[in-house]
Amino acid sequence: MTPLLSARGLTMQYPGGVTPALDAVDLDIGAGESVAIMGASGSGKTTLLHCLAGILRPTAGLVSFASVQGPVRVESLDDGERSRLRREELGFVFQQGLLLDELTALENVAVARMLAGVPRGQAEAEAAQWLQHLGLAGLEQRRLGELSGGQAQRVAIARAQVTGARLIFADEPTGALDSATSVEVLDLLLAATQQGRTLVVVTHDADVARRCARTVVLRDGRVVSDTAAPAAAASAAEVSR
């Protein structure tokens, strides 16, 4: 099977850094998979996610993505093309949500569609459907400051999916949430994989990793294990400590 996303020899050296943040990482992620990336602080988890998503350009190595328009080499795209890829084919749910404070919940989701040229009315109708689907009906006109952390993450999940993104990147999506809300948010993210989407989640939380189909563990920028959950999550939790 051709992987949806593939990395070969991925290396990232930050300017002034003594050791590489990523050191020749190889990784294949298939369509519909849920993959947890674990590791101690500074192990390179977030850098890996940023390189896979085209946010950072790696120092060496390649990242292939099976775009709807055919396979693309993410690392060789220019800034504008990588922006288009992120806008149209990828979804993001980060710890801080990457939501815009000044917009309402509805607008935050609709903006993703408006950027694709969809008229505002239609974009907001689609956004409202997603918010309703994720249990936020009635909160559409609230600003972010008026939402709880869990509600804000639901808005981010709605935005990640409203564009029809096939691959969702989540960076510590439950990091700022209580345990009950974390379970709810993870349920929603994993539900996306039931609809054929692929989920790559960076986490410190063994409970989050345990619920993913696969766990990749990094240490000092290298992949030290890549196994099916839940057994992997237990040993990964040890590594993270």
Binding site: A53, I55, D79, G80, R82, S83, R84, L85, R86, R87, E88, L90, F92, F94, Q96, L98, L99, L100, D101, E102, L103, E107, V111, A112, M114, L115, P119, R120, R159
Partner: protein
């Protein structure tokens, strides 16, 4: 292996807030490479403020060096011009202070966590702002030395201002000190608006929402102004030129206060409408950015309110001056008519220059403050052009409204004269409109310039988050 534990300083008396701040200030002055711009911008901003202040003062004092019978008229006109330029100058000063205060928050919170007292935090903030302003002001004196000879080329009473542009030497340290003190005061005011806790900095209250009561007050002032305009002739007969100039100054002042009261409310109402109707992302973001704090959006361009208001008066004045036959006038009176025209155009141009500086500085501060938002938008794949357009629109939409509203107010006050000027002296009106157009271009350019900070932010996104 034995470990030597550093001796504690139990029992030592805590140092005073100012002394602690003085010790800490050099540590805080050391910035990371990426923050060099953030340090340089406020210094440059205070430099511009000081230079403009000295140029305006230099120009004004040049008008006080005559002692003939028209001296008092020139002096009065100079005072009016200075008063008119004070508001945009104050706006530039406030913008510089805001820029200096940006991103100090997290460092203050860290100090709080370490146990720093409110006194230490206040002293450190004031010290930082004052030192930044002091450096900038010294730079401003150098800039003044460059600008003064150029402005000195302007002709009044048939002669170039020349060396009269130079203020007495002892004004220079006073101006530097004054700018530093204003920056310190501004920093204290800024601190009063926030609560610094060990876990972060939060604002004491939500930004003002611009109440409709402002509209009632402003309309009241406008009506009084209109009434005074109607009796201007009577006042002139009773008190002569002094009464007319005094009344005009009072009307100017009242109108400017009215505009300041009205502005934020209008900005909010218009931005809400734009947010509802926006069909593109830049339009939606721009409207929401303005709605975030309409008072700030207003303040950024409020200098233009004054300029536009004065500009209409100026344009009509130019037209009237052109219509007035100079036959039968003595040479001094002819010069006066011509000098009024020059003075109006210079005042309007300088005012726009100040607003452009204010917008440039404010937008730079805003871009740096919103660094995390820019990074977020970039990660979501929002094109940089969309971000730049949203920022530019947020300024320009408020600018159009402010300029239009103010010009309309002035046109209402001078209604019959404006109509007459358009038909009889269209050239004077076109000249004034050209100055306006150039002013708008300058402001737009300043707004676009600050967008150039975005690539730098996106190059090191980890610093913004």
């Amino acid at each position: 292996m034995s470990i030597t534990v550093p001796a504690t300083v139990a029992g030592s008396r805590p140092a005073g807030a100012l002394a602690t701040a003085v010790h800490l200030a050099p540590l805080f002055a050391r910035r990371r490479d990426g923050d060099r711009l953030a340090t340089a911008l406020p210094v440059a901003a205070f430099g511009v403020v000081t230079a403009l202040l000295l140029v305006v003062l230099g120009g004004a004092q040049a008008f006080f060096q005559w002692d003939d019978e028209l001296a008092s008229t020139y002096a009065t006109l100079a005072v009016i011009a200075v008063v008119l330029l004070l508001v945009p100058l104050a706006t530039v000063g406030a913008s510089a202070a805001r820029l200096a205060a940006r991103r100090r928050d997290e460092r203050l919170a860290s100090l709080r966590l370490l146990g720093a007292t409110t006194g230490t935090i206040t002293a450190l903030t004031v010290l930082e702002a004052a030192v930044t302003a002091l450096l900038g002001a010294v730079l401003g004196v150098v800039l003044y030395a460059v600008l003064a000879p150029l402005v000195g080329l302007l002709h009044f009473r048939g002669e170039a201002l020349g060396a009269q542009m130079w203020v007495p030497w002892w004004w220079l340290p006073l101006a530097v000190l004054g700018v530093a003190l204003l920056a310190a005061a501004s920093a204290v005011v800024g601190l009063r608006a926030v609560v610094v806790t060990p876990l972060g900095v939060r604002t004491r209250q939500r930004p003002g929402t611009a109440h409709w009561v402002r509209v009632v007050i402003a309309v009241g002032v406008l009506v009084v102004g209109l009434g005074l305009m109607q009796v201007l002739g009577v006042l002139g007969e009773m008190g002569g030129i002094v009464a007319i100039v005094g009344t005009l100054a009072a009307i100017f002042g009242g109108m400017l206060l009215a505009l300041d009261a009205l502005g934020p409310w209008f900005v909010r109402v218009r931005a809400r409408r734009q947010a509802r109707k926006a069909q593109t992302v830049p339009r939606l973001l721009a409207a929401r950015m303005v709605l975030e704090d309409p008072k700030v959006a207003w303040r950024q361009v409020s200098g233009v309110a004054m300029t536009s208001f004065v500009g209409v008066f100026g344009a009509v004045g130019l037209a009237m001056a052109d219509m007035t036959s100079t036959e039968g006038m003595d040479p001094d009176e002819r010069w006066l008519m011509q000098d009024i025209s020059t003075g109006v155009l210079v005042t309007v141009a300088v005012s726009f220059l100040m607003v452009a500086c204010s917008v440039g500085i404010n937008q730079a501060a805003s871009t740096l403050d919103r660094a995390a938002v820019h990074v977020s938008l970039d990660r979501l794949g929002v094109p940089r052009a969309v971000m730049a357009e949203a920022s530019r629109r947020a300024v320009m939409s408020a600018l159009w409204m402010v300029a239009g509203g103010s010009a309309l107010c002035a046109a209402v006050l001078l209604f019959p004269l404006v109509g007459m000027a358009i038909f009889i002296q269209p050239v004077a009106i076109v000249t004034a409109l050209a100055v306006f157009a150039l002013g708008f271009l300058a402001v737009r350019g300043a707004a676009a310039l600050s967008a150039r900070l975005v690539p730098g932010i996106l190059a090191r996104p980890e610093r913004a988050l």
